[in-house]
């Protein structure tokens, strides 16, 4: 473990995981907002909105995230000149957040849509029968119940998002996968302890998160 007793390496390890957490936090918030909007579009009565939502989901769910982030960097930043910060690291960070959010939003949208599907159709029909509009049906009857059944998928999406944050390393951000790569390069013979430390940190962060969401989902599940 002499690798991590060197303060320089330890700092790199900590800052690598801080980037991961920051990427996850910001992207989760953006993806949630964007995903809810997209889901609302996908179930709306307006055909063009439905088409837009479906198009978004089909494009981003079927493109490798590496390519999406690649586009954010070489398309938005390099070609179109969209610079988000003078600081190189922050610029990479925000471009990474854009890529992760647009990609994850597609999954959030689909989770919400299938959550809506779990609400028995009779309820929506009853709501309409007593004269509620589309927006009212969605807001008062369907979404509160759907929200409970999307907790488990949201947990999976959040966990995947945290792991996906490592892909922002492609555009040069020194997050944990890049830090691990560098350390393995310099300490080739300690490759196994290095991997176990990084993988173990992810496991320590994410396995409890998974159980928490499982517990929450069970607790809040709509009993039918």
């Amino acid at each position: 473990m002499h690798v991590f007793t060197d303060p320089k390496n330890f700092d790199a390890y900590v800052s690598g995981f801080l980037w991961i957490l920051k990427l996850t936090g910001a992207s989760a918030a953006c993806a949630l907002v964007l995903g809810v909007l997209l889901a609302a579009m996908r179930v709306s009565p307006v055909p063009v909105l439905r088409g837009f939502g479906a198009g978004w989901v089909n494009i981003f769910r079927n493109t490798p995230l590496t390519l999406v982030i690649f586009f954010c960097y070489f398309g938005l930043y390099s070609t179109l000149g969209l610079s988000l910060s003078q600081e190189l690291d922050l610029n990479r960070y925000w471009l990474g957040v854009i890529g992760l959010s647009t990609y994850t939003a597609a999954f959030v949208c689909e989770a919400i849509r299938s959550g809506i599907n779990t609400v028995p159709t009779g309820q929506a029909e009853a709501a309409r029968a007593i004269g509620l509009s589309f927006a009212q049906t969605l807001r008062i009857v369907v979404l509160p119940q759907a929200a409970r059944s999307v907790i488990a998928p949201f947990g999976s999406i959040l966990i995947a998002l945290c792991k996906n944050a490592t892909i922002v390393g492609t555009i040069g951000l020194m997050e944990s996968s890049n830090v691990m790569k560098d350390l393995i390069n310099s300490y080739g013979n300690a490759v196994i302890p290095i991997f176990l430390v990084f993988a173990g940190t992810f496991a320590a962060l994410l396995i409890p998160t998974g159980y928490f969401f499982g517990w929450l989902a069970n607790k809040l599940a709509v009993k039918r």
Partner: protein, 286 residues
Amino acid sequence: MRMKRMAAVVAVAGLAVAMAACGGDSDEGGNGAGGVVGKAESQKKLIIGVKADQPGLGLQTGSQYEGFDIEIGKIIAKGLGVEESGIEWKTTVSANREPFIEQGTVDLVVATYTINDERKQKINFAGPYYVAGQDLLVKTDSTLTGPDQLAGKTVCSVSGSTPAKRITENHPDAKLEQFDSYSKCLPLLENGQVDAVTTDDIILAGYAAQDQYAGKFKVVGSTFSDEPYGIGLKKDDTAGCEKINEILKAAATDGSYKAAWDATLGKSGTPAPELDTTKLTHCGAV
């Protein structure tokens, strides 16, 4: 019926695993005591690690590789008695050259590989077959003339490479953009997000000479380091290293070194350099 299908899936999967095991076996052997010389003699085969994205030096064009490093690799293979058809080229990137050699993924590395003390602790070097120097590639209209003007400027390089480390150590006031290959730096230079791309002059010249960038970039031309390019091989393979040095000596006199240059980097009109055989490494011997 269903069970049969299920059994079939499992069986196919098992077969794939078995194939995996076989595939692994064929890579074995040859990394034994004999070193490179032994493997070349017994198997008539060599795996050479090269760059895939450096025009003029090592560029993968479809299924082929071309460039000066490739030609040097061919000269060495020939000297070891291996036919061109017996060479397997393997793409390496800057960051995985030492592991490739240490683990025996490749027998040799000829990939713009600078000889330095840090690397010598892990592997052995034959050569150098060329001495490059770190330089800057800038836009044609740029006023940058050397590394001392880099303060506040953004420079692009490859993570883990010697040029990138030199910039962080000697020019900490420059901002560094890092990727896994130099080819990703070029669009950034073209679009103005970075002020310069830095690595060895010979690599930069290769990019500047590519058709699509003709007239857009120039190499500054004030090198600020010596980068003797070596041929990497296993640390304990002293015999292989000495043999390769002999092959290089012969190549310097019989014209094959010059031919290799003229067929690749020399195309731009630069005359072939002299291969200074007095500077060849001692192969780890003191």
